[in-house]
């Protein structure tokens, strides 16, 4: 329903008034301030105030403390407290690095995309503050290769910032030196995994690394390295500018602040929604996004990107606050906050096949279970979807899945069977219908003629 206009500043439609008159855009300020991409506009709106404050008023260690106090947790998926992560960096001489993970490739997640293309300085400021906090003089932005426009925007912004003395030597006359380098990936989901990202940034094949050593000790070029998601870093300037108490006012007890919920799938108004952490699914989907599209009913949702388990469309789920603990209590994960909505006309088998195919395509091939297992899962699901399921396929799927999860080298393998397991828990009858009837139980596929010889 929304036409993406790449020439405009706003590539996603703004959500309707949130119903909360006190809430104002913070991360998505570009939606209400035209031209925020430009340094002059960004500075007029209070940009780089956070950096100034950090450099002039605080010691690096104090900046880490402020971020700790704010309760900012990583937005990449694991939700690790950002300040704590920074404090792991040893206080040693020599090079240290900050890497911004802008490889955003999780299906259902698109917040970094909007932030980078429309408000690059917010990210650059966040990186500069982080560099200052950990004693680094070089920040990297590893941006997903497909985000060509985002990379151009960032490069442009870094240039602008350098010309204004905000990047480079002696920033703001404080003696702090910091460079920011924009590096484009080459199109691999695995490079969003932090250690594979480092390998890729070093010019090697994007394979995840063995841990320990952890990046905080030996990361990029075997030096101490902080890796944070773009959205995490975008929060940092605001924490510095307004103080940690202000930030901690938002959100829930354990998940502070606000974040971008990427709403996609069968809703009337998909897009990024900036909301305080802990807003309920019901408010997001029904109050803000206009509910399930075409007047249909909600069947299920994925709460945090394709790697998180399906949740059923129950009232209990809809009233769950979207924070790390709330969603975990329902048996899924907050993840990257990519909420995917499925209407009641969706055949779950097809949806699961599509999701698992993604993992098969993106498996890096380093470890056996993920490389071989994801292919096998897709082969079985493909048969099921196309009316060639066999009795025992479901047990086989679960068993193969259990041989991948927990056995693979990195989390990609752990994630691959997640859609299967959770979908089978919720909608087993649809899978069985596929085996026995050779077609979908719901949706347009339900009217499909049965493939000859397929049904049992």
């Amino acid at each position: 329903m929304s036409v993406i206009n790449y020439k405009s500043n706003q590539i996603f439609p703004p959500p309707p008034p949130s119903g909360d008159p006190t809430y104002q855009y913070i991360l998505l300020k570009h939606r209400v301030v035209p031209g925020l991409r430009k340094l002059a506009v960004y500075q007029k709106e209070g940009g780089y105030e956070g950096l100034k404050k950090a450099l002039n008023d605080y010691q690096p260690g104090q900046v880490i403390d402020l971020v700790k106090q704010s309760g900012l947790r990583g937005r990449g998926g694991a939700g690790f407290p950002a300040g704590t992560k920074w404090s792991f960096i040893p206080k040693v001489g020599g090079a240290k690095y900050v890497c911004c993970n802008a490889d955003e490739s999780e299906p259902g997640t698109f917040s970094n995309h909007e932030l980078i293309e429309n408000n690059p300085h917010q990210l650059i400021e966040g990186i500069l503050i982080t560099c200052y906090a950990i004693g680094s003089e070089l920040g990297f932005i590893y941006i997903r290769g497909e985000f060509a426009r985002g990379a151009r925007v960032l490069e442009e912004a870094v240039k602008e910032a350098r010309a204004a003395g905000l990047v480079g030597k002696n920033i703001l006359g404080t003696g702090f030196n910091c460079e920011v380098i924009v590096h484009r990936g080459a199109g691999a989901y695995i490079c969003g995994e932090e250690s594979a990202l480092l390998e890729s940034l070093e010019g090697k094949r994007g394979f995840p690394r063995l841990r320990p050593p952890f990046p905080a000790i030996a990361g990029l070029y075997a030096r101490p390295t902080v890796i944070n998601n773009s959205e995490t870093l975008c929060n940092v300037p605001h924490i510095l500018r307004h103080g940690p108490e202000w930030y901690a006012n938002y959100g829930t007890e354990k998940t502070k602040g606000f974040r971008l919920y990427c709403l996609s799938g069968h809703v009337e108004r998909p897009g990024n929604y900036e909301l305080p952490c802990g807003t309920t699914f019901r408010k997001l989907i029904y109050d803000l996004a206009g509910g399930v599209w075409k007047g249909r009913k909600l069947k299920a949702l994925i709460p945090g990107g394709s790697s998180t388990p399906f949740l059923a469309a129950t009232d209990e789920v809809l009233d769950t606050p979207m924070d790390f603990e709330g969603i975990a209590a329902r048996g899924s994960m907050q993840g990257s906050a990519g909420v995917i909505v499925f209407d009641d006309q969706t055949c779950i088998v097809g949806a699961v096949l599509r999701l698992v195919e993604f993992y098969k395509d993106e498996s890096c091939g380093k470890c056996t279970p993920c490389r071989e297992g994801t292919q096998w899962l897709v082969q079985i699901l493909h048969r099921l979807e196309h009316g060639e399921g066999r009795p025992g396929d479901l047990e086989l799927l679960l068993n193969v899945g259990s041989n991948i999860a927990g056995k693979s080298f990195c989390l990609l393998g752990d994630s691959a069977p997640v859609p299967i397991e959770s979908a089978l828990k919720l909608f087993r009858e649809e899978f069985e219908y596929h085996i026995h009837q050779g077609r979908c139980m719901v949706g347009p596929g339900a009217n499909r003629p049965v493939t000859i010889g397929a049904a049992h």
Binding site: R205, S363, C364, K366, C367, T368, E372, T374, W376, R383
Partner: protein
Amino acid sequence: MADLVTLTIDGQRLQAPKGATIWQAAKDAGIFVPIYCYHPKMSPLGACRICLVEVEKMPKPMAACTTTVSEGMVVYTSSEAAEKARAGVMEFLLINHPLDCPICDKGGECDLQNYAVEYGREAGRFQEEKRHLGKAIELGSTIVLDRERCIMCQRCTRFCSEIVQEEGLIIRERGRLAQIGTFSDLPYESQFSGNVAEMCPVGALTSRTYRFKARPWELKHTSSVCPHCAVGCNIEIDNRLGRQVVRFMSRENEAVDDGFLCDRGRYGHGFIHSEQRLSTPLLRKNGRLEPVGWDEAFSFIIARLQQICQQFGSKAIGGIAGTHNTNEEFYLFKRLINDVLGSPNLDHYHGHFSSLNPEQVATFHTATIEGLDSAKLIVLVGVNPSVRQPIMELRIKKALKAGAKLIVIGPNAGALERFATLHLHVPMEQFSPAIGAIIAAMIWRGTAKGFEDPSINQHLQSVYGNFQTGDALSHEINRAASLLSKAETCSILYDEVVTQKAANADLVRDLINLVLAAGQFWSEGHGLGLLTADNNATGVRDLDLLPGQGGLSYAQMLGLKGATHLKALLVMGANPLQHVQKQNKALANLELLVVQDMFMSATAELAHVVLPVASFAEKEGTFTNWEGRVQKVNVSLPPLQGTAPDAAIILELASRLGEVLDIRTPSQIFDHLARISPLYKDMSYTTLAGKGQLRPLIREADEIEVPDWLQRATLPTPEILRQESEEYPNGLTDLLDAAPSVDVGRVRRAEGDGGTAR
């Protein structure tokens, strides 16, 4: 002593060094955990997951090859969870693996096959279409790749990137499509390529020379030592049904080869079965060499020898030994020439070591191969291991990876050049002045370890204190001096071949002074190392096959120093003609020239009698490698019909000359050597089996006393460049670019009849 941690594996309480992996701890305790991707010589990868084990308090199974042990850890290698994980991985490995074991070269010695029997299901559950990829792709001149059989353990790619550190095999594509290949489909050419086929746990990488030649269960394995250079890599000779040698495999000896072979060694077995091998004695009749029986050949030799002896005396007889025979054969040859025939004219082709006798040469060369691993600085003086001692290239790269620095002195260090911290482009004639300059610069600094000893300090001051260096080199010389001064441990290697330059006849003196300055004198494992090219050039020197009192030298016997009184020359396994002009009067004027060799050579063409000999695979004995490690070769095959081992020939000649030598067999001879030679003191033939044994270090005293001859050392000045020495007209132009001469000839000849690749 490293810290130990206590852990429990399968109920067994054991201790393992801190930092060790579960796999290592289990292995040391005799508990077997299967592996594919893990390779002891490479950094752990954790990719194949076959080594998953259950660890208490861990939410999921852990890879034994990457998880380090910790205090109180409780590990189960065959619990239900561990077995489920392993069976799952095994199943995954097999789903896309072709069921072509009956036609796979690895069948019978394949880890995938073996573990599938051990840990796999009896029937597969995979009923989908298998992945199909290219088969039997020729990656280069030596290796063939079957992409379907590959299990992506990355051993081969890591060998190229971590060990050889050169462009080589890489992974292409991603995920289920990932496959081994080369960048841009360029051919995979490396002189270490054979190792990837050996370390491949499945039949994905195979050697072109071995493909479809044999099945593993037909092979008889014989421990031996590679005969192709002075490193003496340990090999296993695999012969099929006792008839044909089909391959050499590495027989890992960490102290020598680290488990790797170069292609020259690995594929250099074609000569054993070459059709051009001599298989009958040849006797010159009417100007032509004609096949005769052994008896006729022996009778001819004996008659001529006796006649020459009577007519001209025993000093008219000479002997030239090669550098490829066993120590025991050298001993017998020396006995034959010196004792039986009574001639002092005995020599071999060798370098120059000032006035040092063989015992002193061995004493002052303390560097070992293993010592390189702990060296902080490696200095190469006129060394090109890439061509002459290839496995040394890998060993030095290993040391450099561990943090050692590298100084290259000389024109060419092959593949190691790009790793050099400092490269002194000194022409070969200037080695001595350059080293003298470095010592002078070290004296000026005065901080080097060696200068802590007052007597060394005084000695070096007196010899090099006033040495002036040219300006052109001064900056680099100073850097070299600084690196040498800082290095705690340092190995200085040079190649015997450079001492054959007249200007370098006294090079060893300067090098020993450099070792003194660097504080590495009589160090164990570090200090000076003498690289040679041929596999037993060290043994022949150790056994003192050199001119006796009043004896003729190699060059003299060859007439390079003017006419000689020599009438008979016995040559064992050498081709001296390669070092002299083709039109050689001295050899042409001989009344008896006997050549013992496997093949016809330029020298054999001139001979009166040519005796065909057995190859190294057909005899028993010992070789001494460049560091002085004595290693045993064993009989893999009976001698080719019509040939005899050199030892048997010499014993027969001696007995026909009326002297029956009582010390005859290799074990008798070696144990005798251990009694009479200080170099092989207290060694024993029986203890040599397996990994061999390093010559005992000979130390003249506990405290370092600078030997007289070093104190008398003259200042290396340009005059030294004009000093006369034995220099051979041929073969000196590109010394370091030449691989060992005789071997290359042999391999090339073998190649000619289609015996082997390379």
